[in-house]
């Protein structure tokens, strides 16, 4: 019984939150890694693109809510999501046309593009703050919990409860569906293959008749889909604040690099790796150990490796360690 209690405790405070957070990071990291693989620069504006996409889906959700359209027990934001994705795709294609295309044709080095993406980051940051403000925005509706802690306790007779929010399940399912579709697209379809070829060797790809502008366009489309979906899921699960999206860019970069930048599968697992280590290292294991250990060995301290204040520092440290020992990431990078 104690053993089961310990497992439920860990599931409730470590596994479920880490899976959710990991999915959000994984989607973002795939986006960053795709842009890196095809366009060959680290896009610092990605966090703010996520914020922008989320903002659009919030605005559409509010519109729907005021019109009385709901999605049953599911959040209305899921209905708004496809429209938001379309808007974000259009916007990022416009940005590509007017900002990035020039440097691509000039074959500027990645460093120049990083600086350019900083400019775009400021612009997007300003737009989001002007349109929706800096405050916390709630746009969740529908049923909040799939199972509440109390219900779980009554159901199983355990001391510890397991609460699962509906957003957590939605996040996980959406992530799995999108990731599977994306990997299928990259592996099986002709367009996907041409993207991989372009990322692997630009000159060879051009020789074999692959249209670079098409590949770039598809990359932006996929990256915008991922940004909007990841951002909206994060906003549904926690809350929307423009500022947090910029902060999330850092663990996303960490995940992309840990997984080997340019490698979507690596980025996917990198996201979960970062999320799990962030939460596992900052979780206080005292209660778990009380369940598991005999009474004489019970710990007196919190049994926490690092205080939760250092949550972000954990993902950065993982990145630094990985960069030191395996500079190409855990999975080999630079090939889609």
């Amino acid at each position: 019984m104690d053993f089961l209690n310990a497992i439920v405790l860990i599931a409730n405070f470590v596994i479920v939150p880490a899976l959710t957070y990991g999915s959000q990071l994984a989607l973002g990291a795939i986006g960053v890694t795709l842009i890196y693989g095809v366009l060959r620069f680290a896009n610092f504006a990605y966090g703010d693109l996520m914020a922008f996409g989320t903002m659009i889906s919030i605005l559409i959700t509010w519109k729907f809510q005021s019109m009385g359209i709901t999605f049953g027990f599911l959040p209305t934001a899921l209905l708004a999501l496809p429209f938001a994705v379309v808007v974000t795709i259009i916007v990022s294609l416009i940005f590509d046309k007017f900002i990035f295309e020039y440097y691509r044709i000039k074959k500027s080095p990645g460093v120049t593009l990083i600086v350019v993406s900083l400019g775009l980051m400021f612009v997007l940051n300003g737009i989001v703050r002007i349109v929706i403000g800096t405050g916390d925005k709630q746009f969740f509706d529908g049923q909040k919990f799939l199972i509440k802690a109390n219900e779980f306790k009554e159901l199983t007779g355990l001391n510890e409860g397991l609460a699962i929010k509906s957003t957590q399940l939605i996040t996980l399912i959406t992530t799995v569906i999108i990731a599977l579709m994306l990997f299928w697209f990259l592996e099986k379809t002709k367009t996907g293959k041409s993207m991989r070829a372009y990322s692997n060797n630009e000159d060879l790809a051009l020789l074999s008749g692959i249209d670079p502008s098409r590949v770039v366009m598809i990359t932006w489309i996929i990256a915008s889909i991922l940004a909007t979906v990841a951002g909206t899921l994060y906003g549904l699960d926690k809350s929307f604040k423009p500022f947090t999206y910029f902060n999330n860019l850092l663990p996303i970069f960490a995940a992309a690099i840990v997984g080997g930048i340019g490698n979507p599968i690596g980025a996917f697992f990198g996201g979960f790796l970062v999320a799990f280590s962030e939460i596992m290292i900052t979780y206080a294991y005292k209660k778990v150990l009380i369940y598991l250990l005999p009474e004489s060995l019970e710990p007196t301290s919190l049994m926490q490796l690092l205080s939760t204040d250092y949550k972000f520092a954990v993902s950065f440290s993982i990145l630094v360690i990985v960069l030191l020992f395996r500079p190409n990431g855990i999975f080999k990078g630079k090939v889609l």
Partner: protein, 458 residues
């Protein structure tokens, strides 16, 4: 000669703009813009040394600024004797242990060849040391933090004049830059950007959460000043005499004694804040001028030529027998220590240390915009960039308010759209900065004052 004319002209325009603010808004605002411009100029000189001279991307500006601020606290605040007596020794022992750990790891990695065994051994040693350090420092930290937590709860500093912290801040930053450089400089340029950004995040989160060191998010307020305090000035006879003398024509117009007294008081109050800011401006501009002279000398020295050679063609520089790795490390340390100095100057000027205010947007990316808009590789350019960008950063709100009012003059005052726009005036500066950067990158990629390379004729 034309280049020099451009430099003089652009700085003259900047000076006129600041005077303009002084006349239109107030001299206090104008001077605080000037002071922050000067501090930003120091930071952008630091970034320019790294990026402009050597082509190293350092997105860790925020971290080094925070280290400089920490130095200001540790140098100038009076020591908290009680805290030292309850936990000082333990903390010192822990710091010693950290150093010992670093030393042991170095010895091991030199003595034993790279293998799985070695990595495991290092892992075990780190684990043991962490447990040891935590058992020693844990209770001590708790004891220190419970000493008078409302105002103290930390070890305090050395109680020295704060101006020393400018040098100490530079040293702190140099030390950390050495470690970061050893770790990260081998990386590709885009990885270096991300790695430095993340490491600066770690530094700031340490400063935020180690309360025993600098009170963390509880802030340190009321720090010492190298300039006189307003209150002292308002009571100093010479100062009142000076103000009376400067405003004698205005004062003579007033006949009523009580009114005259009141007016004089008001004048003295205003003058005291301006005087303090002028003192700061004097100090800061001395630093900027010294740095400009030194960096200009360095840029046109053999060393500067070597750095440019490394930047423009690393392979060729290597082939000529230059130690690229070592030079990169050197320049990373020099640039970072200048940024650290600016961090200490900033805390000196503000008189308080607020770790929460360290945001990458403000302290890393804004400084980068300054360097790029001003002109990479040109020291005058980066100073000019600092002036322009900081000026716009502050004045963007009034300017955009003015523009919005003109553009929406047809709308009613109760119009929701207009109200929303006016409420979000502070955020227009982000868009202005971003668009400015994008335009410069597109149409003038070398910045407003481009790098000029003197070639000596033999």
């Amino acid at each position: 000669m034309r280049e020099n004319e451009n430099v003089i002209l652009s700085f003259a325009i900047m000076a006129v703009l600041i005077v303009f603010v002084g006349v239109l808004q107030s001299w206090g605002v104008a001077l605080s813009i000037l002071n922050l411009c000067l501090i930003s100029a120091v930071m952008s000189i630091g970034v320019n040394i790294q990026w402009g001279y050597a082509g190293l991307i350092n997105f860790g500006v925020m971290g080094f600024t925070a280290l400089g601020g920490l130095a200001a606290v540790l140098v100038s605040v009076n020591p908290v004797r009680e805290a030292w007596s309850v936990g000082g020794i333990e903390i010192l022992v822990s710091i010693g242990l950290v150093l010992l750990l670093v030393f042991t790891i170095k010895v091991i990695s030199k003595k034993i060849e790279q293998s799985k065994k070695r990595n495991i051994l290092i892992g075990i040693i780190i684990g043991l040391f962490i447990i040891l350090i935590r058992t020693i420092s844990g209770p001590a930290i708790e004891a220190i933090e419970s000493v008078n937590p409302a105002t103290q709860g930390f070890l305090g500093g050395l109680g020295l004049p704060i101006i020393f912290s400018w040098i100490v801040g530079g040293l702190f930053a140099a030390l950390v830059a050495f470690v970061i450089g050893k770790v990260a400089l081998g990386l590709r340029s885009d990885y270096l950007a991300i790695a430095t950004l993340l490491i600066s995040g770690i530094i700031v989160s340490i400063v935020k959460h180690e309360d025993w060191l600098s009170r963390g998010v509880k802030n340190v307020i009321g720090m010492k000043r190298p300039a006189p305090y307003e209150i002292d000035l308002q009571q100093a006879e010479w100062f009142i005499n000076l103000v009376t003398f400067l405003n004698s024509s205005k004062l003579n117009l007033i006949n009523d004694v009580i009114k005259k007294e009141k007016f004089l008081n008001q004048l003295v109050m205003d003058a005291s804040t301006i005087f303090v800011k002028l003192c700061f401006a004097g100090l800061f501009s001395t630093v900027v001028i010294i740095l400009l002279i030194l960096t200009q000398k360095a840029l046109y020295s053999p060393w500067g030529r070597m750095m440019r050679a490394i930047r423009d063609n690393e392979e060729a520089a290597k082939a000529m027998g230059k130690n690229v790795v070592k030079q990169h490390l050197n320049i990373f340390i020099i640039g970072s220590s200048i940024i650290g100095m600016a961090g200490a100057m900033l805390v000196t000027y503000d008189g308080l240390f607020t770790p929460v205010s360290y945001q990458p947007l403000r302290y890393t990316f804004l400084i980068w915009i300054m360097v790029i808009i001003g002109g990479t590789g040109n020291n005058y350019g980066s100073v000019l960039g600092a002036f322009i960008v900081w000026f716009l950063w502050i004045e963007a709100a009034p300017i955009s308010l003015f523009l919005i009012n003109i553009l929406t003059s047809n709308f009613d005052h109760s119009n929701e759209f207009k109200k929303h726009l006016i409420n979000s005036v502070p955020y227009f500066r982000f868009i202005i900065m971003g668009i400015g950067l994008l335009f410069i990158m597109r149409y003038r990629p070398k910045g407003l004052l481009p790098e000029k390379i003197k070639i000596q004729k033999i």
